[in-house]
Symmetry: D3
Subunit: 158 residues, 6 copies
């Protein structure tokens, strides 16, 4: 199993995997994250008159998706054709879905994961003064399409 | 409560908070993250001959800490005096602790959170071909010292 | 007069000016920019239900201020203690004021100028589909405090 | 008209527009900027023996074009096939033209605008010690080719 | 000969060369570097229990290859399909080979050179406390394939 | 000797060394590099009418010094008070000296090394079409002042 770890060559050395022979196809991935916080903090968010923390988190997530290859050492640089970050208010926190798409030789799973995570960190940063127990959890891949491995879908945690 | 959201001024508009009048003090923060994965994947990690995914994750976490102000829109740029990322193997995953320190006018909570999160994303990236159900969770602040609010400590989740 | 060009040494060669002997003082600068656009485009901006282009421009300006030393070749890296970007709607466009502050050995004039300009470019990017004649103008220093040269103030153009 | 603001989806939420279905075509854009300064400052520029501020501004503009997607939150990352920045000395300032080209699914208008603007900011930075009244103005799109909307050309302001 | 300097246009002005009319082909380049150090320092490297300086240098080289267009002013942004950095221990130092590949309109020579050089600088950084006489040398292109100029190969220095 | 490798903690794990207890002092470092090339290529450089490759290399070196902590994984972020890059034409190549200064808790050796190296890579990039045998060599620390270890000076290689 060890040789199936990503980003290792036959000699067990780290490399940015050679994707030069893979076909360029349409690929998309959606990742999930959840920022757990107290109900009072959630209630306070929309009452802010002129600024919405979720908007800032959305932009941070989109911008971070474009920086994925700078953050994750062995990720390929991929020109993203689309990035979107969505939020759903739940009683005990904020659920984040981040989608990234590209037409490339490798997938955008890490771009979606990075967008979801940085959006979550930004929400944390905006609300941390209100609640010291905020926690980011349930960061996982929700869906992946395109590429040799085909479509993958995971049910959300209940 | 709304006006206590971080990074808003009196008019409810977003700004990078003015810390110009705060004293420069020694500050430190430690954040936690957990990468849940199947026992077989954990077992496979150390058997790789020449490269250790955790080393790459450690470097990615340290480098990400230095990029925090580029990722989190309203974070101040802080010259870090120390960053460390530690791992503990557990039966159902890898536990990450990331510590950042500085001597500055504001704290390094987000730097520690960012280091822990990017280290977790890098472990995810190295192992995702082995296990599609990998999940990042329990991302929270473990400890914070320095600054007006003093020392904060949280027990690890059991 | 030629030798008074900034960023040249005695031999006329370019260098990042040595500020090592200058005292660390509190410094602040405010820059102005104006995005001229048709009245109909201005009217359309606030009617957008869930997102406000000015919020995105504000964040872009704040983040760009932190990147000034990466953009302007001979600028020093300065840890900003405060950045704010304000907008005023006028009949023929949007007026931007960007303020940056630091405690450092050199001033933050370029950080304020960069924040104002990138905020203006972002407004342009959000509205360019509506009006091909949009123009950025009146980008100048409004105010500067701190440092050997003392306080400077300029009246806004009428 | 509101729904025609760029970078909003049908629900009025911000997203990086999906260009995945657009054809890859040859695209080019040219932007203009003008740095207004006193005649004495303009006269001083070429007399510097070993370094020419315009060369530095040219390089800064070219490098900034490559950073556009990092600065403008919703811009796509585009691999530029060509960037050029030209200057013309006029009695009351320096006129800048910046051109960017690519073969991509979306246009390079913002890349040209960013190159022109950062070149202007760099000239400002090199000359600001000589003239406190320097002003950047007339930043607009001069020409755009390629893509569905076809060729656009604007006459320079007189 | 002067007009054959790279990155100048017909008027002798600097520009990012227009590669828009060149065909997209498979390209690869390998660069070499050598970090000369005392035999005792080389002997000390593998004895470190938990971390291997060469692993860090490998990651630094790979990440730097992705940053080439940010460092070398007139380089085009190229999405790399593969990057690898290899080391060979020699009696008087560490020999580095860095390979980069892409499918693009221009070559990846500078990406390979940058990867080799930053890997060398990182080894230097990890060992500099042990030996003040460490020196980086023999940084050159070993091999280049693809593009109009065809394959180039250079023998290693003896 | 192994435990004296830089950037390892007592357990042999990599970390960004804790400099929090070191005093802030004035520090400076100068590094050297040499770009060996054919005499005809050297002769061709100054004959270019409007642009000088060395100017571009100087700016690239200065900008790279500011990026050192992004490139070298365990380097601290240091606000540089001064950076300069000088060139000397020799019969068989171009000699580069790069100096960086700061007031900080750790030294700027890597900043000077990075500036010299990236300036050398940029000269290589500008001239590589003229001479395939260009080689970068003699990259080493020339001088270091400040900090606990005091002043270090090395004679240039003959």
């Amino acid at each position: 199993m060890a040789e199936k770890l990503s980003h290792y060559n036959a000699a067990g050395e780290i490399a940015m995997v050679d994707v030069g022979d893979k076909p360029t196809t349409q690929r998309s991935a959606t990742a999930s994250a959840f920022v757990a916080m107290a109900a009072e903090v959630i209630a306070a968010l929309p009452s802010n008159k002129k600024g919405d923390p979720l908007q800032i988190a959305r932009i941070a997530g989109i911008m971070a998706a474009k920086k994925t290859a700078e953050l994750i050492p062995l990720c390929h640089q991929l020109p993203l054709s689309h990035v979107a970050v969505e939020f759903a208010m739940e009683p005990d926190g904020i659920r984040i879905s981040a989608t990234a798409s590209t037409s490339a030789q490798t997938g955008v799973e890490m771009e979606a994961m990075t967008a979801a995570t940085v959006a979550a960190l930004t929400i944390y940063d905006m609300t941390k003064a209100l609640d010291k127990a905020i926690e980011i959890r349930e960061v996982y891949l929700l869906e992946k399409t395109g590429g040799k491995s085909g479509t993958f879908r995971r049910e959300r945690a209940e």
